[in-house]
């Protein structure tokens, strides 16, 4: 039971982004548009897209 709780917390628990950054966004097929909107909202700036693995 404790293992399951730890797993659920790791997977779904809150994540805090560093100060000054917007809240962490979990994308799924229903709200992928959020990423596109954030990209386009940066028009006028050089945009950097980086794709990383957490481990």
């Amino acid at each position: 039971m404790m293992g399951l709780s730890v797993f659920l917390y790791l997977r779904y628990g809150p994540r805090q982004t560093p100060p000054g950054q917007p809240p962490f966004v979990r994308l799924n097929s229903g709200d992928f548009q959020v990423l596109i909107e954030r990209f386009n909202s940066g028009r006028g700036s050089l945009r950097v897209l980086v794709m990383l693995s957490p481990t």
Partner: protein, 135 residues
Amino acid sequence: MAGASALQQVLLEHPKAKLKVLAVWEPVLGMDIAPPSSSNLARLSDDRVEQFWDGGRLLSQRLLASVRAHPERLGPNQREPLAKARTVWDFIALFPSNAHWAEEPPFPEFSGAPVVDVVDEVKSRINAAETGLKK
């Protein structure tokens, strides 16, 4: 993870560059069962960064579909690895200030992987953008 730290160092060196950084974390390796922890998110601490978790690797799928639909945009040495690739990761791309994402992602002015191997080129291009020089 090294890629995040390397990019953060570039951002530290260019505090005034007009940038928007979209950092998309995704599961790639077997141990990637959860989004990055808050301490991992802190590796990219610059306030020009926005961070996302893409648990279904949706962005990777879209990028691969886009480049496979337009192989003419790729150099000869990019075509073969991309034809075999199943996931885009440890990857960085730079888009000009007028880039717009409509039906498909725009094509980057520069891209490369792994991040630590191309970070000097990224730095050079950010420097050029900051000083108004077109590379």
